[in-house]
């Protein structure tokens, strides 16, 4: 006990010395911290990266497999422009001319390598030994009505067009622009493509108001990521306003508010410097860092300022003495809460999703700096600013009222600790069970809410034309030129047929279709030969002929590899949940394993599938991080509270809010995305503050004031009840602001955090005190009923 007392005294002495030092050298300290913040900010650079690749770590096996597939064929991203003529018929002269024009214009898209439209579809026909290969509709302006009717008929019968480029009714059509981004600087390349396509689209709409236009595809997706990062960054402004208002209400002091503002802004500036120094490019998950830092950093300042002003106003201390006292009382709690928050955010590095590493590191750095500024700049500023004393009495009454309220809550708890524990644990148990019922679902398109244009357009396209989800296979033959082997073609054809039969499949694009159509053409368009060739030489020679007849940009290089040993199968799917996507991929892989020779076995890959698996991977990899966070934070608590038993006990109020949060989430939504996986580590660092404050006050009452457990609970309620509610309100404000994000990874994360933070407060007010009483009971032989009664009467 003596040794402990010594360390406590040492800590107190340190905080006091620190405060005295800062107050004595207020100007140098202020100037140095300003220089530090400015210096870091001068290194700052805010660049955005919208490339969807940023969500996958380099070691991600799905990304590796997908990149390998793209290397084999062509690495491409796309923009799907969908045109819906208001007259509901693509096949009119005017509409075909418009589509042809836009297709020609689309070739001018930066980095474009291929443009697929209904008009430039390479239609093959045969007359005897003459083979005709031409655009389905070239020079549409000079087509007769009969020719246009013929084009319509051909198009609607064409398996490569229907459900991909046109719908069954012929009322909606797509132009698929394939771009080959060099990938050297996606932060510049993607906007370049986007600006060009948007300009092209707006020009087109001006000259063709009779068309409704929609865009989707991987490039618009990247743009949506990009723009949502920027939009979420703007939430900072809203949060800044809230910080000012909250600080003003709580401190009722202009200078205190100003000082708080300086601290949080310096913390953010430092974080921006950190971003620049580390060359981090912001992504939607990491772009929320300023709001997070604001939310978390403001609590530090508020704790110090509220105590300071209280000491001045209520206890009548002078400015310096009040500041020193406030620093002495708050230094350790602020340090510990900052430390746990930093630990919580740093554990995001255990995950498998790089944007969350960035978020974790940026916020951790920002919080470390917030601690530094709260304990240097803040007291220095307050030492410089004058203090205005006023409205003392009014507040005092207010205070008493609050105190009474929290005391009453305390009494309510101490009367029935056992019953409350059982009820709480029962509710928590039930919610924990429900929490386990949540399923992962990273529906790509649903990352954006329905106010985002990309989402609206993608939804339209999903409903009216084709699917946004896809899965790809690179099916090998095991030998050079083997794609012309009839056995391979036959199997591939079977695979294609099997895929077509699957309920979620919208369209299949496989090389066997090319083989069938060329075979038919080589036999004078005889429908009986619409099947894969039966002889390898025939197949190879037909393919050679077909390839010779294709124009620029519409070749087969995106479908067969240079060696002609593998071909690519692209399956377009309806909107699917992550679980359904993964199940479909596994079913397809299994089919190949069961039915095809080994060389043809292939892994399903695609960006949409990668996103489907992202949540699972993140959860798996975060598991370790969460355990480490829990252990580290519990250790910090044990050391801070100097009590191993209570350190262990603290695990309950620290872990259960997350269970409650996810349990309630199951009732609200039931599906979890990647963004939500991080909340355990993250919120642990935040909600632990409540426990720390409550338990430390409880222990103080027990150790220093010699109270029994029940009195100590009342004491804890009276002293920190309001502070906990206050910080909870600030945190709620911050995460409510974030929950308005249009980006689901951020908004869902924020929403569940809101639930968890509220749950944490309730648990800390109900379950924690009940538990504290129950565990203390065993030690307390003497029941101090009368004394407590006295206390209550007071």
């Amino acid at each position: 006990m003596n040794a402990i007392q010594k360390t406590k005294n040492a800590a107190n002495a340190f905080a006091k010395n620190w405060a005295n030092f800062v107050i004595k050298f207020k100007w140098p300290v202020l100037i140095l911290t300003i220089l530090l913040a400015m210096g870091l900010a001068s290194q700052g650079k805010m660049e955005f990266d919208g490339d969807y690749h940023v969500f996958f770590s380099e070691s991600n096996p799905e990304l590796e497999a997908f990149d390998a597939l793209q290397e084999k064929y062509t690495k491409d991203d796309n923009i799907i422009v969908v045109l819906a003529p208001k007259d509901g018929n693509i096949f009119t002269r005017e509409n075909l001319v418009a589509i042809e024009e836009l297709t020609a214009e689309a070739w001018n898209t930066p980095y474009s390598s291929r443009v697929d439209a209904v008009t430039n579809f390479q239609h093959t026909s045969a007359q005897g030994d003459d083979l005709y290969v031409d655009d389905l509709s070239y020079d549409s302006a000079n087509k007769t009505d009969a020719e246009i009717a013929e084009i319509r008929e051909k198009a609607l019968k064409e398996p490569l067009l229907v459900h991909r480029i046109i719908n069954e009714e012929g009322s909606v059509t797509a132009i698929n622009i394939t771009v080959r981004l060099p990938g050297e600087n996606s932060a510049a390349e993607i906007p370049e493509v986007t600006i060009a396509t948007r300009e092209m689209m707006s020009k087109f709409q001006e000259s063709h108001p009779n068309f409704d236009v929609y865009t989707t595809g991987l490039v618009p997706l990247n743009t949506a990521f990009f723009e949502s990062s920027q939009k979420d960054l703007m939430l900072t402004m809203v949060m800044l306003l809230i910080v000012v208002i909250v600080t003003l209400i709580l401190t009722r002091n202009f200078f205190a508010t100003l000082a708080t503002l300086v601290v949080v802004l310096f913390s953010i500036m430092s974080a921006v410097g950190f971003i620049g120094l580390n060359g981090i490019k912001l992504t939607p998950p990491s772009a929320v860092f300023p709001t997070m830092i604001l939310t978390l950093a403001v609590a530090d300042s508020i704790h110090i300022l509220v105590t300071y002003l209280q000491k001045v106003r209520k206890d009548g201390l002078d400015k310096k003495a009040a500041l020193v006292e406030s620093m002495r009382l708050n230094f350790m709690p602020v340090f510990i809460t900052s430390l746990t928050t930093v630990i919580g955010f740093l554990t995001l590095n255990y995950g498998d999703v790089p944007p969350f590493w960035d978020l974790g590191n940026i916020v951790a750095f920002g919080m470390a700096m917030a601690f530094l500024f709260s304990t240097t700049t803040l007291p220095a500023l307050m030492a410089i600013f004058p203090i205005w004393k006023s409205k003392k009495i009014a507040k005092q009454q207010d205070k008493e009222l609050h105190k009474g309220m929290y005391a009453r809550l305390g009494q309510f708890v101490i009367k029935q600790p056992l019953r409350l524990t059982i009820i709480s644990l029962a509710i928590i148990g039930m919610l924990a069970y429900l929490a386990s019922k949540n399923v992962f679902n990273d529906e790509f398109v649903e990352y954006f809410d329905t106010t985002v244009q990309f989402r609206q357009d993608s939804d339209f396209i999903n409903e009216n034309l084709t699917g946004f989800y896809n899965v790809e296979f690179s099916v090998g033959s095991g030998e050079s030129g083997g794609i012309n082997n009839p056995e391979y073609l036959q199997k591939l054809n079977e695979f294609e047929v099997w895929l077509e039969e699957q309920p979620e499949v919208v369209h299949v694009n496989a090389f066997s279709e090319v083989a069938r159509r060329v075979n038919r053409s080589m036999h004078g368009d005889d429908q009986n030969f619409y099947k894969v060739p039966e002889n390898r030489e025939e197949a190879a020679q037909y393919l050679l002929l077909y390839e010779l007849s294709l124009p620029f940009g519409l070749d087969l290089n995106n479908q067969i590899n240079v060696d002609k040993s593998e071909s690519r199968v692209t399956v377009t799917l309806e909107n699917n949940s992550s679980a359904e996507m993964i199940a479909f991929a596994e079913r397809s892989e299994q089919w190949l394993e069961d039915n095809a020779p080994e060389a043809m076995h292939s892994l399903a890959v695609s960006p949409t599938l990668m996103f489907s698996k992202l949540g699972f991977r993140q959860a798996e990899s975060m598991f370790k991080g969460n355990i480490i966070a829990l252990i580290l934070i519990s250790l910090v608590l044990m050391i801070a509270l100097r009590n191993v038993k209570l350190g262990f006990l603290s695990i309950i109020p620290n872990v259960t809010p997350v269970l409650v949060g996810f349990g309630l989430w199951f009732l609200l939504k039931g599906t979890i995305n990647t963004g939500m996986v991080i909340v355990f580590g993250m919120t642990l660092g935040i909600i632990v503050d409540d426990t720390v404050h409550f338990m430390s006050k409880f222990l103080r009452a027990r150790r220093e004031l010699g109270y029994n457990a029940k009195d100590a609970i009342i004491y804890a309620f009276e002293t920190v009840g309001k502070a906990l509610v206050t910080t909870t309100i600030v945190l709620l404000a911050g995460f409510v602001v974030l929950s308005t994000s249009t980006f689901a990874l951020n908004s869902y994360m924020a929403r569940i955090t809101v639930i968890i933070i509220i749950a944490a407060l309730v648990i800390d007010f109900i379950l924690l005190p009940s538990l504290l009483i129950l565990v203390s009971k065993k030690e307390e032989k003497i029941v101090t009923e009368p004394k407590m009664q006295m206390q209550l009467d007071k």
């Binding site: 003459d130 083979l131 030129g481 190879a540 390839e547 010779l548 124009p551 240079v562």
Partner: protein, 260 residues
């Protein structure tokens, strides 16, 4: 007011010089192309074997062996017959092409597997030739009439001319061609710009050999696609100018014979 009076004649004369230069650049470009065609005139016919190596970004390669026979014609485009020697499954497949100075070329293909000649009626010459980085239009006979010309610059012996394809279905907006005037106007390099006018490919000719003291033939063509990072290398064997091929060696019958 005074200023403009002085400036107008100056601007006018500058404009005049610029337009004159522009005109002469086009004329000079055309003249260079014609000189180059003239320099290669009179070879009659040739036979050459070549190896085509396709390379993707990762360095994976794939090879094809071909034999090309060419017959020089002056009043219309040249005739050519290409026979595939490998891969095995296309051995004997042969194409016969009549290039035309104006309009679409005629093309036939002999397929040994079904022993039939197919005529391909297509305006598409811009697609890749057997999966390579060469488009058919890059390999076919370079007729002067197929391009518009603009002389760009002279660099020692090298003359750089921009060529704009006449065919609206061409995959290129322009090509920048480097001729070597001291070496019989042989081609040294061609840069291809795609439809959005971005550099797509560069073809470099090397290992030139002078035949019959007049005809320069490069033994190596290396085409690099800057956008896909794929490459195609053509290695030519010894040219045979002595076969004295004639029109009857470039018929459907000859095509069948060549393939079998």
């Amino acid at each position: 007011m005074k200023k403009s009076r002085i400036f107008i004649p100056i601007i006018a004369s500058v404009l005049a010089v610029v337009t004159m230069n522009a005109q002469s650049a086009e004329e000079r470009g055309l003249q260079i192309a014609k000189t180059a065609e003239k320099a290669d005139e009179g070879f009659g016919s040739s036979i050459v074997e070549l190896k085509m190596t396709l390379k993707n970004k990762n360095g994976q390669t794939s090879e094809r062996f071909l034999t090309t026979r060419t017959l020089e014609l002056t009043e219309d485009g040249d005739k050519s017959l290409i026979v595939f020697e490998s891969p095995k499954d296309v051995k004997g497949t042969a194409t016969l092409t009549f290039t035309h100075k104006v309009g679409a070329d005629d093309q036939w293909l002999y397929l040994p597997s079904i022993k039939r000649v197919k005529r391909i009626s297509s305006n598409n010459k811009s697609g890749p030739f057997v999966g390579s980085e060469f488009a058919y239009e890059d390999l076919s006979s370079q007729e002067v009439e197929k391009y518009g010309y603009k002389f760009l610059k002279e660099d020692g012996d090298l003359l750089v001319v921009e060529q704009d394809p006449v065919d609206p279905k061409s995959g290129y907006t322009r090509r920048v061609v480097t001729y070597n005037q001291s070496k019989g106007y042989r081609l040294e390099k061609i840069e291809f710009y795609d439809r959005k006018n971005a550099l797509l490919k560069t073809l470099v000719y090397s290992d030139y050999k002078l035949y019959k003291n007049k005809f320069w033939r490069a033994a190596t063509f290396n085409m690099v696609n800057h956008q896909s990072n794929k490459e195609t290398l053509l290695k030519f064997g010894e040219y045979n100018f002595g076969a004295e091929l004639a029109d009857e060696d470039f018929t459907e019958v000859a095509l069948k014979r060549a393939g079998s």
